[in-house]
Symmetry: D2
Subunit: 267 residues, 4 copies
C-alpha cells in the first residue's frame, strides 16, 4: 500500500503567499454573535465580561504570534497587524489566518470561566478570519481609523438605542426615534433624556481596544552573594525590561498617538 501513487494529490494545493513588504491584517469576526450575545445574556449595548474576554484572548494571541505588532478590537471582532517584513509561515495567507483564528477560538472557550465565572458557555463559538494587505502607512492607518470610526458610530447609536428601550420604548419606536439623527442629536438626546454625558462613557466602549507592545520595567528579587569576598546570600532587586501587549483605549485616528509611538509603524 505504497503511498507514492496517491501522493500526486499534493500538487492540487496551490500556493497563496502574500506580497512581500506589505502589512498583513488578519481580521476575525464572531459568527452570529447577535444570537450568541442574546443566548449568553450579554449586557446591552456593552458587556464587560464579553469585551474583556475578547481583549484577553487578543493579548494571548499576540504572545503566541510575536510578529503581530498591534491589534484593534471592538464588538465581536479583532484585527491583528503583522509586521510588514514578517516571514511567519512564509507569509502564506491561509496558514496565517487559520492559525490565528483557531488559537483565538480555543482561547475564547479556554478562558471563558476566567471572565464569566460559573456562567455556562452554551455552545462552541465560531469566528471567521480574513487576511488583507496594506502597502502604505496611510492605508494601514486608514484601516484602523475605519474600524475605530465604525466602533464610535455603532456605540453611540447603540447607547441611545438601548437607553430608549430600557426606558420603555419598543425596538421599533427606538429605531424611529433615532432615524435621521446626527451625532450631535444623539449626544443631546442622551444628555437631556437620560442625563448621560457621552464623554464620560467608558473609553473602551467609545474607542475600542488597541493593543501594542510596550516595554515595561519589572523589578525582580533574586538571591545573590553579598560580594567583596563575602559569599553570604542576600536578596537583591533587579530591574529588567519586558515587552508586553499593552492596551490603549484612546483615539488612533488623529496623529497624536502615532507620533508618540513612531516605532509602531516602523515595522
Amino acid at each position: 500500500m505504497a503511498n507514492s501513487k496517491f501522493e500526486y494529490v499534493r500538487k492540487f494545493e496551490l500556493p497563496d503567499s502574500c506580497l512581500p513588504n506589505v502589512w498583513m491584517v488578519v481580521r476575525i469576526d464572531g459568527k452570529g454573535f447577535h444570537k450568541f450575545a442574546d443566548a449568553h445574556e450579554y449586557q446591552k449595548p456593552n458587556d464587560d465580561r464579553g469585551l474583556n474576554l475578547m481583549n484577553f484572548c487578543a493579548q494571548q494571541t499576540m504572545n503566541e504570534f510575536k510578529d503581530i505588532t498591534m491589534a484593534y478590537g471592538e464588538s465581536d471582532e479583532y484585527s491583528f497587524i503583522l509586521r510588514k517584513d514578517t516571514t511567519l509561515f512564509n507569509r502564506r495567507a491561509s496558514k496565517i489566518s487559520t492559525n490565528i483564528v483557531s488559537f483565538f477560538s480555543s482561547c475564547f472557550v479556554f478562558y471563558w470561566t476566567k471572565f464569566f465565572g460559573t456562567y455556562e458557555l452554551k455552545y462552541p463559538p465560531t469566528f471567521d478570519a480574513r487576511v488583507v494587505c496594506y502597502p502604505s502607512e496611510k492605508n494601514l492607518r486608514d484601516y484602523l481609523s475605519w474600524r475605530q470610526a465604525d466602533c464610535h458610530i455603532n456605540n453611540l447609536y447603540n447607547t441611545c438605542f438601548w437607553a430608549l428601550v430600557h426606558s420603555g420604548q419598543t425596538n421599533k419606536e427606538a429605531e424611529d426615534t433615532l432615524k435621521g439623527t446626527f451625532a450631535a442629536d444623539k449626544n443631546e438626546l442622551l444628555f437631556t433624556r437620560f442625563g448621560i454625558n457621552y464623554n464620560t462613557v467608558s473609553d473602551m466602549y467609545k474607542k475600542g481596544s488597541f493593543i501594542y507592545w510596550s516595554e515595561v520595567e519589572e523589578t525582580i528579587v533574586r538571591m545573590t552573594p553579598k560580594g567583596h569576598g563575602d559569599s553570604t546570600m542576600v536578596e537583591r532587586e533587579f530591574v529588567r525590561k519586558r515587552r508586553q501587549p499593552t492596551f490603549f483605549f484612546g483615539d488612533i485616528i488623529s496623529d497624536t498617538f502615532w507620533s508618540d509611538h513612531p516605532q509602531l509603524l516602523a515595522v
Copy 2:
C-alpha cells in the same frame, strides 16, 4: 467622524472564491501536536480519548456545516469534503476554512472534559486549515486514499516503534531496528517479538475514521388520540428518518466501500 473617507480600505480585500464544480477539501491539522500529546500524556501510539475527541468534534462540524458530505480523520488531522456544488460562503476559500477550523478548535476545548474527564487541558490548542480543490472523482478518492495510506504506514510504524520502546529499547535503538524494514517485516516483528497480530489491532487505529451521512430510522413515541371517534390519548410509536454523521473504520481505498455507497460521490 464620517466613516466614508476610510471605507476605501475595503477595496484591498481581494476575492478568493474557488472554481465551481470541484470538490473542496478542508484539511485541518494540529499545530505542534507532538508536544501537545506529550504534555497531555497521550497513550502511545494511539490515545483513545484524544482520537474520540477529534472524532466527536468532526461529527459536530458536519452537523454545523451541512454541506460537508464526508470527513476523514487520523492522528491530529481531519479532512472535510464539501459538496461539489456547495455555495457555502459563495465558495470563498478563506471564509470556509476559517469557519471550519474555528468551530473545530472551539469544540475541541468545549468537549475536552467529555473525553478527558477531570484531566486538565493545559493550554489552548491550535489547528491550521487549508482548502484544496479536486476536479474529478478519481482525484478525490486518491486524496482520501493518500490520507488512509498515510494512516496505515504511520500506525504500523508507530505500533512497532512503541512496542520496542515499551519493551526496553531506547528511541534510537527502536529507530535502528525498523530502518529499512517493509510492511511484511513489521507484521512479522510484531507477531514474533510481541505476540501481536496486527490484523487484530483496532480498525480505528489502522484505518482512521471515515464519517459520512447515513439515514437512520428512529422510533419515537408520541401521545395521539385513539381515533375512530375515541379521543382518549394513547402512546403510539412513529418511525422517522434522520440523517446523521456515521463512522466507518474500514478500507476506503478499494472500490467496495464506494460501490456500496454510490450517493457519496454523486454530490
Copy 3:
C-alpha cells in the same frame, strides 16, 4: 554593481499555476474591433478576408502550441482548449495566455497580406486573453456551446440588421424593426423581404469555426532504387500520416459531433 542586492525583487513575482486536471480555455478577443472593422472596411456582417485571417492564425497557433487540442472562433474572438493534463509552462496561467495572445497577434499582422492583399493594415491590432478552467466534460462542452450559441444569435441578428440597412433603413429603423423578434421571425423576415433562406447562409458565418487535430494521409513521392539488384532510381509513392488542424463548420452543441470524435474529450 553586483546584481545580488537587488535580486530580492524576484520574490514579488507570485505563482499563478492552474489547478491540475482541468481543461484550460484561453479566449482571446480583439480590442475595439468594431472600430477596427470599420477602419478596414470589413464587409457587413461578415468579412471573409477577416474571418479567414483569424482562422489561419488560429491554425498557426495550434501548430505552435501542440497541447491545444481544439479551438473555436467567431467574430473577433478565438478560444483555445488545452489538454487537461498539459504541463505547458507548468500550467502557469499568465505564461500560457500571454504566449498565445502574443503569437496570435504577431500572426495577425504577419499574415495580413496573405488575406488582404495590398489592402493596407492601418494600425497594429490588440487582443486580450484570459484563462478559464473547466473541471468536467459537461462544463467544457457547455462552454463551447455558449460560444456557438452566441455566434448563432449574433449572426442571425446581424444578417437581418445589415439586410435592412442595405435595403435603405437607417440603423435606428433596423434596430426598431428587429426589437422583440424571435429567431423564427428573423428567418421569416429574411425570406419574405430579402429572399434569403437562412439555412443556405455559409456555415462558417452561422456556426463559427471549430478546429481540431485530425489525421490525414499524405501521398509523397520519393526517388528510390528500383530494387532486386537494380539500383536505377525510380519515383515511388509513399503514404504517410500527419496530424493537422482541421476545420469543422458544423454544430458542436448536440452530441453528434462529439460521439463521432470521442478522442477529443479524452485529453
Copy 4:
C-alpha cells in the same frame, strides 16, 4: 437555442485584480530570442536595428496605454511601470498583461520594415508577459536597478565574448577566457587586447533604454487674422506643450536621475 442555459460557464472566470496602491510592472520578454536573433542575423552582441525596433514599440505602447509612466528595456525584454493608482482594466492582471503584450507584438511585426528595411521577417515573434506588484518606492527602484545591473553585467560579458570570438577564438575558448573574471578584468581585457575603452561604448548598450514622459514645447504655425480690425490672415507661431515618451540612456541606479525627476515616483 437560448444562450441562457450555457451562460453559467462565465462563473468559472475568476477575478484577478491587483492590490490597490502598488506599482504594477509588466515585463515582457521575447520567446527564444537567441534563435530569433540568429535567424535574423542580429549583430553581436548588440543589433541597433533590433534594439531600436524594441524601443520604438515601447514608445508606441506608452502612447497607447497612457497609465504607463515609465519603461525600461534591454536585450529582448521591456518593463512597463503603471501608475500606483491606475484603474486601467480595473487593475485586472490578465487584462493588463495580455493587452500590453499583444499590442507590443503587433507593433514589432508592424514596424519591422521601419527598422529592418527590406530584410525579411522570417516568422512571427512571440513575447511572454507577467505582472509584478511593488508596494514601495524603494522596491520599485530596486526592480529597475536589478534590470539595469543585469543589462550591465550581460553587456560587459557579451562585449568581451564576441570580441574574443571575432578575434578568432571558438565559443568554448572565449568562455574559458572569461571564466572567473571580474568587471575590472573584463575592462582591462577589452582595452589591452582590443583597444576598446568600455566607457566609450554606446550608453544604450551599457545602460539599456529608459523611457519616461517629458514635456516638450512645440512651435506650431497657424494662420490667424492680423487683428486690430484687420482681418487679413497671417502666419503666427504658437508654442504648445506636449507630453511625449522620452529616452534616457543613463544611470537609473543611483539617486541623481530620480532627484532630477521627482514627479516620476509621485504616481
